[in-house]
């Protein structure tokens, strides 16, 4: 029953696209489209929750569209229901945000038709039950998001970003197509049920894993294949980049989980090592890139790469090759919980960035500052997002990271030697990236919201509209609830992990005081609620005691500036200067960072100039040579266009002679 409701919602969303084109001249089209998509995703969200919490049996429907002799199979099992829940929650909040944000959208004619179709595409990917429907909705999702990225096409960078994104998306889809080709075999068993029944051999499974890792990894943003993500996400309008970062990457994770955990059969021992290596590198590189940025949305996009790394660390530990089913169940639950948490706080942060963008018209942090006085509510919601993404208690980011650490701690019993050495290293990388993430978000919040406004645009900023604020506070509240009562969410994930791995974490709600216990109480437990209550009580206790017994008088005075006459706002720390110590520690190796100071000769009043030179090594060593290679090949082949007729004839003649020679030689 729930599946039909969800499909109706998807159909409504698909119908909204042409409707938006038809009504493009009417004034209320923005409100209509976003309102309708919010309602549709809300209904579908309710259906998904009903299915997941009710632990209902998987339903499936076959529509007569698609490959003629196959039809389109759609199925809503526990895994799909969870990811559908994540997609619809993101869609709902993005549409709510867009109700307010959409007013300021200049190219709304290019955003409205594709936005609901993008949502429908994501929902269908999660429900697809055969290779054709899966890839169709996967590629349709990419096409729609490409169109959204290209909505501000007058800016050349956006056009380039859209182009890189589309080429990488096609590359990813074709890799997945090869993976499905392997699973389907030569007589075309394309439905997932047939693929599961076929029980692929170990070698086939390994190849499918590699192809899925490349295909889904490129859409999710694993490091060597992440280059499009920081280009495309900032180029899209804010509510779309929130969806792309927070939700589309999760649909890519769903693709990986569905192919590798569900269809690819028994995992081999080295699978987790491969995924772990990719994940560890992704986590650290993502956050190091983010630290070097001063464009707000690019920084958040790079952080998506980091959090995808964390999710894939959880997935890597979730392979059940080592017989320790509970450890795998814990790791999978940790990964899925981080999927949910990340979609919450990443969307919240992108909404905040969107609100700042509309208020000041600027994305570059170096031109912002002091927004906490002018946009207090946005600042508060953004602060909650920053604390959550930096994995600090009592919010939800810490819970999933803590579970991942517990999964890592369970691994010494693993028989595989390689894992014994790789896992502590990845544990160290995870801890390092958590600390660097906290540093990065101190920079983001401090430079953007605190301090004094660095430009007049930041000075004239005003608070955003109520819809955007509603969306932001809705997500902030969810972050807090997921941080305080993680047990509820972990129990909701139990059917998913038992479907995929056959076991799930011990029921959390039975433990006292709603704390979460990964394996056994004696081993480790964490109680979000109590820690939060303790902090609130001790904080208010201290405040009231001091205000009653000690003084509560307060007066304002100019800040201490070592006696300099006019402390202009430019003396404040900027994003690049804040990251300078960390850049000096990590940057020289990872980005070949060099600083060139050029001091004026004594007596001249020319300002000194400090230039920082950073290289994106991955782009320069992997993608630039590829583009140069294709350009070179295109140039060489281009000469074939300008031959004389005689030379073309000699081509034909050569082909004929070669074929005849082949015939003569052939037995």
């Amino acid at each position: 029953m729930t599946l039909t409701i969800i499909l109706v919602c998807a159909a409504v969303l698909l119908a909204l696209g042409p409707l938006a084109v038809a009504l493009r001249h009417s004034r209320a089209v923005t409100q209509l489209v976003y309102g309708a998509s919010m309602v549709a995703s809300a209904v579908s969200f309710a259906a998904a929750i009903a299915h997941l919490l009710g632990a209902a049996a998987p339903e499936s429907i076959t529509l007569p569209v698609g490959v003629p002799w196959l039809g389109a199979h759609l199925r809503n099992d526990a895994l799909s229901a969870f990811f559908l829940l994540v997609v619809d929650l993101g869609a709902m909040s993005a549409s709510l945000f867009a109700l307010g944000y959409g007013q300021h959208e200049t190219a709304s004619g290019r955003v409205l038709p594709f936005y609901p179709a993008f949502l429908a595409g994501m929902m269908l990917v999660v429900l697809a039950d055969d290779a054709y429907t899966f890839l169709l909705s996967w590629e349709f999702m990419s096409l729609m998001s490409w169109a959204l990225v290209m909505s501000h096409h007058r800016v050349p960078e956006n056009v380039r970003a859209g182009y890189v994104y589309l080429v990488m998306a096609s590359f990813g889809t074709l890799t997945l197509l090869l993976a499905f080709g392997l699973l389907a075999g030569s007589d075309g068993l394309y439905t997932f049920a047939q693929m599961r029944a076929a029980h692929p051999s170990a070698a086939l499974g390994a190849l499918v894993l590699i192809l899925a890792l490349i295909g889904a990894g490129s859409k999710a943003g694993l490091v060597p294949l992440h280059v499009w993500l920081p280009l495309a996400h900032p180029a899209a309008p804010s509510h779309v980049s929130a969806l792309m970062s927070g939700v589309m990457t999760k649909v890519a994770v769903y693709g990986f989980v569905r192919i590798v955990f569900d269809l690819a059969g028994e995992p081999a021992w080295w699978w987790s090592m491969l995924v772990l290596a990719f994940a560890g590198v992704t986590t650290v590189m993502g956050v190091l890139y983010a630290l070097m940025q001063h464009d707000l949305k690019r920084l958040l996009a790079y952080h998506t790469v980091e959090n995808i790394g964390i999710i894939f660390i959880g997935l890597a530990l979730a392979f059940k090759t080592h017989g320790m089913v509970f450890a795998s169940a814990l790791a999978l639950t940790a990964a899925l919980l981080h999927v949910f948490n990340h979609s919450l706080f990443k969307s919240l942060l992108f909404f905040g960035a969107g609100a700042v963008l509309t208020a000041t018209g600027k994305r570059d942090m170096e031109h912002l500052g002091g927004l906490i006085h002018r946009m207090p509510q946005t600042a508060f919601a953004f602060l909650i997002g920053c604390v959550a993404i930096s994995a600090l208690p009592p919010l939800n980011g810490f819970v999933s990271e803590w579970l991942t650490f517990q999964a890592i701690l369970l691994s010494p019993q693993l028989p595989v030697w390689g894992l014994k050495l790789l896992i502590p290293a990845v544990g160290a990388l995870l801890a390092l990236s958590a600390a660097l993430a906290a540093a990065c978000f101190v920079k983001v919040y401090g430079v953007t919201f605190l301090g004094r406004p660095r430009t007049s645009a930041a000075e004239r900023a005003k608070e955003t509209d109520s819809f955007s604020l509603a969306a932001m506070f809705f997500l902030a509240a969810l972050c807090l609830v997921a941080g305080i009562l993680p047990g509820l969410f972990i129990d909701a994930l139990a059917p998913v992990s038992s479907a995929l791995i056959g076991a799930h974490m011990p029921a959390q709600t039975s433990t006292q005081w709603l704390s979460i216990v990964p394996i056994a109480a004696s081993r480790s437990s964490y109680d979000g609620l109590l820690v939060f209550l303790f902090m609130v009580i001790s904080g208010t206790l201290a405040a009231s005691a001091i205000h009653r017994f000690a003084s509560n008088r307060l007066r304002r005075a100019p800040a201490w500036d070592c006696g300099y006459p006019d402390a202009s706002p430019t003396t404040q720390y900027t994003a690049m200067s804040f990251a300078q110590p960390i850049r000096r520690v990590f940057g020289t190796v990872v980005f070949r960072a060099r600083e060139h100071g050029d001091m004026p000769p004594p007596g001249s009043t020319r300002p000194a100039r400090l230039t920082v030179e950073l290289h994106d090594l991955i782009w320069e060593t992997l993608y630039a040579p590829l583009a140069v290679g294709i350009g070179f090949a295109a140039d060489r082949l281009n000469h074939l266009q300008f031959l004389t007729i005689r030379q073309f004839l000699s081509l034909v003649f050569g082909a004929l002679v070669i074929l005849l020679l082949v015939l003569a030689v052939w037995p």
Binding site: I645, F653, V657, L661
Partner: protein, 220 residues
């Protein structure tokens, strides 16, 4: 099919290949046209002989077309066009004559190997004919590839077409042979008219295909 008929047919087909070789050797347009006329003549003889052996009257029409149209009308018109275009004294050859001849020999050997390997139980005449026809076709193509002048390329194409007619007549009882040769004649007529009608001369001041190519689309 008694021995003598086979030998004569064999002789005529072989001589056609020989004339094709001669054409390869020529580098002056006048002599090229004369050799082509001879080429058409031999073809007409061979088709007539085939008509006699297979006592298929319609082949006589093809022989007549070959004789009248290809041996006389086309060379004369081309002759007059060359004089009008004033290119009769040009000597042009892209690849050295020696290399062209060697390539020609290679091609004949290739066609022999391909064709003889093919038909063992079919009657020998058809097999021989096809081998020679393939040789003439390949030589015609070689000529088109190694010549720079548009008219000599057309002559190459026409000798290629003669090879086809030889093959068609060699295939005993093949219907539509006449229609095909008529279609080809129209095609050749188009070419000749094409040279004249498109006033290649006035447009490009020369019929040298090299000049023609300067006006390729999307100049580099």
């Amino acid at each position: 099919m008694s021995g003598i008929d086979f030998d004569i047919a064999h002789l005529l087909a072989g001589s056609l290949v020989l004339v094709s070789f001669l054409e390869l050797y020529q580098d002056r347009l006048y002599s090229l046209l004369n050799i082509y006329a001879a080429h058409a003549l031999v073809l007409a003889a061979s088709v007539a002989w085939q008509a006699f052996i297979q006592d298929a009257p319609h082949l006589y029409i093809t022989a007549a077309i070959a004789l009248v149209f290809k041996a006389i009308v086309i060379p004369v018109t081309l002759h007059r066009i060359i004089v009008r275009l004033g290119i009769h004294r040009e000597i042009e050859n892209v690849v050295g004559v020696g290399i062209t001849m060697l390539a020609g020999i290679g091609l004949v050997a290739l066609s022999m190997v391909v064709m003889l390997r093919v038909t063992r139980e079919a009657d020998p005449l058809a097999r021989e004919d096809l081998a020679f026809a393939l040789a003439v076709v390949l030589l015609g193509l070689l000529m088109m590839v190694t010549r720079r002048n548009a008219v000599s390329q057309v002559v190459g194409f026409m000798s290629l077409e003669n090879g086809l007619v030889l093959a068609a007549t060699g295939a005993k009882g093949m219907p539509l042979v006449v229609e095909i040769s008529v279609a080809f004649s129209i095609l050749i007529a188009f070419i000749v008219i094409g040279i004249f009608l498109f006033r290649i001369r006035e447009r490009f001041d020369t019929v040298d295909v090299q000049a023609l190519d300067r006006f390729r689309g999307e100049r580099r």
